[in-house]
Amino acid sequence: MQAVIVVAIVTTIVFVLIHIAPGDPFTSAMDNPNVTEAMRARWRAMYGLDQPLLEQYVRYLSNVARGNFGWSFSMHRPVIDVLKDALPNTLLLAGTALVLGFAGGIGLAVIQATRPGSRTDRTLGAGSMFFYAMPDFWLALMMMLIFAYWLPWFPVAGAVDPVMHEYMGPLAALGDRLKHLALPAITLALLSGAAVARYQRAELLRVLPDDFVRTARAKGLSERRVMWVHVLRNALIPTISLLGLSLPVLFTGAVFIERVFAWPGMGWVILNGVATRDYPLVTAGVIVAAATVTLGSLGADLLYSVADPRIRGR
């Protein structure tokens, strides 16, 4: 299918990048003077880095297809294991933020669209514009400053309390997780929610003058029912495609936010890999990220066809 082709192309791009970059994992990763050139040569042979490029490429592709991403130098574990631990964390963060952001954004948009041009509308609109233009990492820093330092409502970093979590009962452990999830998720949600609110508001206002809305009113439906059942159902459809489009954004936002809050997800892992020149980890991270995004878009497309009956028939 198309998605597979896309992922294949991404893998190729990443592979090409790795191999035209200066040096290889062994020139700098082991800047230990005790490591001799002979040892480096041996390692290269062991990892197949002295083979012709094409062979390496083919081997790499087949490995990726089988889910074998190699060995992470910095983590001393198979890359796939590192990713297996990190991906759920990012999904949890991104997923929560997605739900919060979309629900919040849509709700806000409805409030705005029911009284366009009013003070409420303009204030909320200015607010969403404010958050929309914000660098994610800066917002994360500010949120941390305000809600973890000045008002110690939330913990500063991490996914769980590093010391106490193991000793907590199940309910407390859940609470602990939620408390750590709250700030990063809310930060991410604020950013995506702003974009959603702007988009959804424009869509709602576009649908409102449509004829069927007048029919709905002529049937004696309340303004609330008209808005939520009739207008929103129609205006929501393009927003669903926005869902697919916002996945890459969510991912990248997560990268920064994970860094600021030390949230152990994919972004955090990739950045660590970057810092330690752990190329297998970085490349695998990028590929998996791209694959997740592609899958997500596919899912969004599917949702879109389910939501719009005019498209379903085809």
């Binding site: 896309v6 192309i9 041009g117 660098p135 400053l145 206002l205 920064f256 020149r277 990028v286």
Partner: protein
Amino acid sequence: MVRHAGVASGVIAVIVVVALLAPWVAPYDPIAQPDIIGLKNLAPSLSHPFGTDSFSRDVLSRCIYGARISLSVAALATAIAITLGTLYGAIAGYVGGAVDAVLMRIVDAALSIPRVLLLIAILALWNGLPLWLLVVVLGATGWFGLSRMVRAQVLSMRELDFVAAARALGASGPRILFRHILPNVLPTIIVAATLGVGHVIILEAGLSYLGLGVQPPSASWGSIIQDGADQIGAAWWISLFPGLLIVTTAIACNALGDALRAAFDPRENAVTMAELDS
């Protein structure tokens, strides 16, 4: 709407002018470290409106000089992206057929990689890039979306009457493309450019924050934020002000871009009545 665009342009103009006049406007030397013990990490005051950092450098001056880096990087990178995107999309849309299909598949694949991740990967592999190369890389990763839009427009315009007329008068392909079609695509490009600058400012700031973007001794707004990130609780002003500057500039770019888009698209204009002013 027009009012908003005016304010937005004004804000951008002020920032640009201040950046250009940095040597005359900045109260202190941005890299001077006069008194690492005495003047270190001072909170905002009259003599240092944005405070000082852990090297006793004046944050306001750093921000003013930082504006030069942030703005020029964003502007140049966007210019590169616009050029690449327009050319690529125009060719794909005009030539059509298999060429178009292949070109667009590549773009689709490129679009599926989150831009930041790609940049992180590239900048990590080639670290310590000189500034101009950073600009090129930023530009080279930002043209995919625009190429899709340009392609779509060129594709639809290709079949219009005025193109057939030009062809009948003997105009060649490239000539038609550049003199007839592209001027009509200009509004899209202008809007994309304006919004793009805003995006790149934020993007570059993020990369600099990670240490991958602008390298010391140059400092963009993002680098300054990174300086203050580790001591956010203690010296919050170091990270706060550059961030506010980024937000302001980005909002101004977005507002301007939105206003331009509304002005260019008459249909959108119909919807953008007073009620929609937001």
